[in-house]
Amino acid sequence: MSVTSVKTDYANLTLTLIADFDAPIERVWDLWSDPRQLERWWGPPNHPAIFEKYDLAPGGQATYRMAGPDGAMWGAWRIRALDPPTSLEFVNAYADPDGTPDTTMPAFTVTVRLTERDGGTRMEIHERFESREDMERMIDTGTVEGLRQAVGQIDGLIA
């Protein structure tokens, strides 16, 4: 399988995921840099993302629409840093249809790093909630099933 490891750091509000692909680095980079390829994997199958604007440059913006059975929603990236084909950093936020980030909704900083490894490509993703409020909002947007097993998980969380 592709996902090699996932680590969550509750204290730093960061998720780190490492995946290994049996493909050259340029090919993996294309999945990020080509919006037509990006939209085939960014959204889940029931909410495919359509990137309407894609300015992959430092300070540039990308906007996308995710349509689903329960209506559409919009998202926007602001590109913070870029170094093809090895690294990309952006802030991902919910947005208005015109691409204006919705500050009442959660935002995340996503860092992507690609390295050549064993003839393939290793992809390392760091995703960080901008703040605990963002984390809470993500839950409040209703994508989360709810608080099953609230008690009993505490040791796993704070160990």
Partner: protein
């Protein structure tokens, strides 16, 4: 690491709260029990004021609640708040696992990306 870039006002309550081993221990004790601040203070080799400060950090982060009981303050861990933190990350993880699966499908040579049938991707 990213932590170094965080400025004072973006450093968040939960970050502070969970980053300290004493506070993690307080969370554990106050999940199992509902001790008063003074009883809690006796459990640690530090001053009452120091323990009180740790409790205040946890309270600001929304991880514990304090309830007056006579002249005492009882401290209780808000297990739902702690669980919410966990849930948020579980959600994020499954989002990324889904994305990586779809990326793999796109990268697989001569294989149509078919989300309904992810099982037949045997690696030699």
């Amino acid at each position: 690491m990213v932590v170094g870039e965080l400025t004072e006002d973006t450093v968040d309550g939960l970050f502070h709260a969970l980053a300290d081993p004493t506070r993690r221990d307080i969370l554990r004790r106050c999940a199992a029990d509902e001790p008063s601040v003074s009883r809690l203070a006796r459990a640690y080799p530090m001053s009452f004021a120091a323990v009180q400060k740790h409790v205040a950090v946890l309270e600001r982060a929304g991880l514990v609640t304090k309830e007056p009981r006579g002249r005492e303050q009882l401290v209780r861990t808000d297990t739902a708040a702690v669980a919410r933190a966990r849930q948020a990350f579980d959600d994020l993880e499954s989002t990324w696992r889904g994305r990586v699966d779809r990326m793999s499908a796109l990268l697989a040579p001569a294989t149509e990306p078919e989300p309904k049938n992810p099982s037949s991707r045997g690696a030699g």
